[in-house]
Symmetry: C2
Subunit: 322 residues, 2 copies
């Protein structure tokens, strides 16, 4: 299923005329997952043509204002829009307490169900949200002394493509038997032979993977989230000229982000959380591309399309030729 | 001194494509007073060409999110901009506690001085901020059970215009004596006669007055703030068709806002806090103008200029002809 990744805010701590505070939307089948919610995100969602009502889960990396100050406003707007559907909030430690202290944003008092997942500061994180078709995993990042986590959205692998010609050739009658095979169950044909799914299904089809890794120095957690990702959005706050500053403040340079992408085998890298000190991020892009050619500065409100069909193995034939 | 009133956000609780959450700037001599700070205000200030560094005081009417959720972000941006100048925050009861609970927005931990004035829920409010040249008065409004206050910015009345010809004719030597008269002190001329300021100064020159009255039903506090105001920005959330809803929710109709303006003898009325249910606020404007012709729907980022010279009495001659 096609996924669109839409950067809504790619500035670092202070907004500029071109860049807004951190937020990124992942749209799939009309539903939206929102990563970070800097101030102004409810406006950016509108400008991106994404309905507040379609947000099913919000994931906040850490409690620096530029990543979460838009959450109270978005929740209260959802309420004012008479939302009934539930929303899941995956928050850093202390996130729920902050919301409770903000009049009008207390999850328990909102008129729609809010399922809050508070990350365990000490624990390993793992899967923090899942549906039948996707799973979101969280891992600790390295953002100085501040708790920060990154996220990886992965579609579940789907069974291989079903080959109806092949099935008919093996004597499988059209109808429910086709369905059973596609659901991974063997069937017995009228002449008594057993046909296994592997004989009529292509190889399993991996889903798309997007990773959101900011704010952080380059770190193991970020690399793990980025593993074979189709698209990695990574902290690229600084260019090489401020590498020391990056380390000091718990951020990355664009080159470091590119190195993470290359080491993780990602397909594409979006450079984000760009410092306002660079009116033109071209140096960051250049430095990143010297390490990882498929790096680009994230463009706000642009839809980066991830299509799982591009990952499908060639339909050489059923998974196992009997 | 010329004052510019600049509506930054004129929507009611939910932003629309055209209207942003509540905020209004008053610029005088390059310094900015900010009234309300809905989410996104720090962006709106930029778009209005108003520097964050020039904000000397922020006045929040009440703790509904659409009026205050932008405050944490603005304060943290001021800090990130290495602000050193102090800022005054005039907040409703509970305002300081809310800020303290939001990581990164705790006034005491900001790197610049923050003088917090917390309104007394029970008390009468009065002057909440003043300089040599202006005073800001607050009064309770009527916004259902929620504490809300409105504000009146008034320039101090200045002495009348000095008439140098007149002074010379009365034998006053040029130099310090002219200055003393302009500062309201009598002088003795070389031939021993006493010249009083009133003989060489025109009538006192009233300063401009702007009033910010939202969220509220029409009420005595709002009328008092609007008294003879040059410009009144008033809650006009609804048109007549939803008058009952206005009362129920603690708001006003445009007609009611106009009635307040007329009764208070205001010069001009800006209709604000406009409900998203009206894609076109023309009905509200029409209804308001039927009561108060100088009513108009507030236009965001437009500079409404208030010039005290327009209020100056005709220079008929010194205040008291001796």
């Amino acid at each position: 299923m096609k996924i669109d990744v839409i950067p809504l805010g790619t500035a670092s701590a202070v907004p500029t005329d071109e860049r807004h505070l951190s937020a990124l939307a992942v749209e799939r089948k009309g539903q939206v997952l929102l990563f970070d919610c800097g101030e102004g995100t409810q406006y950016r969602l509108r400008e991106a043509g994404l309905s507040w009502a379609r947000i099913e889960a919000i994931f906040v990396t850490h409690l620096h204002g530029d990543h979460c100050y838009g959450l109270p406003g978005l929740l209260s707007t959802m309420e004012l829009q008479q939302r009934a559907d539930p929303v899941t909030l995956v928050l850093p430690p202390g996130g729920p307490a902050m919301l409770r202290a903000v009049p009008g944003a207390t999850p328990a008092r909102l008129s729609f169900p809010v399922h809050v997942v508070e990350a365990d500061a000490a624990g390993t994180l793992g899967t923090v949200y899942e549906t039948d078709e996707i799973a979101v995993e969280a891992r600790r990042l390295d953002h100085r002394e501040v708790f920060a986590m990154g996220f990886r959205v992965a579609e579940r692998t789907r069974p291989g493509r079903f080959d109806p010609e092949r099935a008919r050739a093996l004597g499988v009658p059209e109808g429910p038997a086709f369905g059973r095979l596609q659901n991974g169950c063997p069937v017995t044909t009228p002449d008594g032979t057993t046909v296994r799914p592997g004989q009529v299904l292509g190889p399993p089809r991996p889903g798309v993977v997007a990773a959101y890794v900011t704010d952080t120095r380059p770190c193991a957690g970020g690399r793990a989230l980025a593993e074979e990702a189709d698209l990695l959005y990574h902290d690229a706050t600084f260019a090489d000229d401020h590498a020391a500053r990056a380390d000091e403040t718990g951020h990355s340079t664009a080159r470091q982000a590119a190195t993470v992408a290359r080491e993780a085998g990602a397909t594409r890298l979006l450079l984000g959380h760009l410092s306002a000190r660079y009116p033109d991020p071209a140096p960051q892009e250049r430095e990143a591309r010297s390490v990882f050619p498929a790096a680009e500065v994230a463009e706000e409100l642009r839809r980066y399309e991830l299509d799982p069909r591009e990952k499908e193995p060639d339909p050489v034939g059923p998974a196992d030729e009997s």
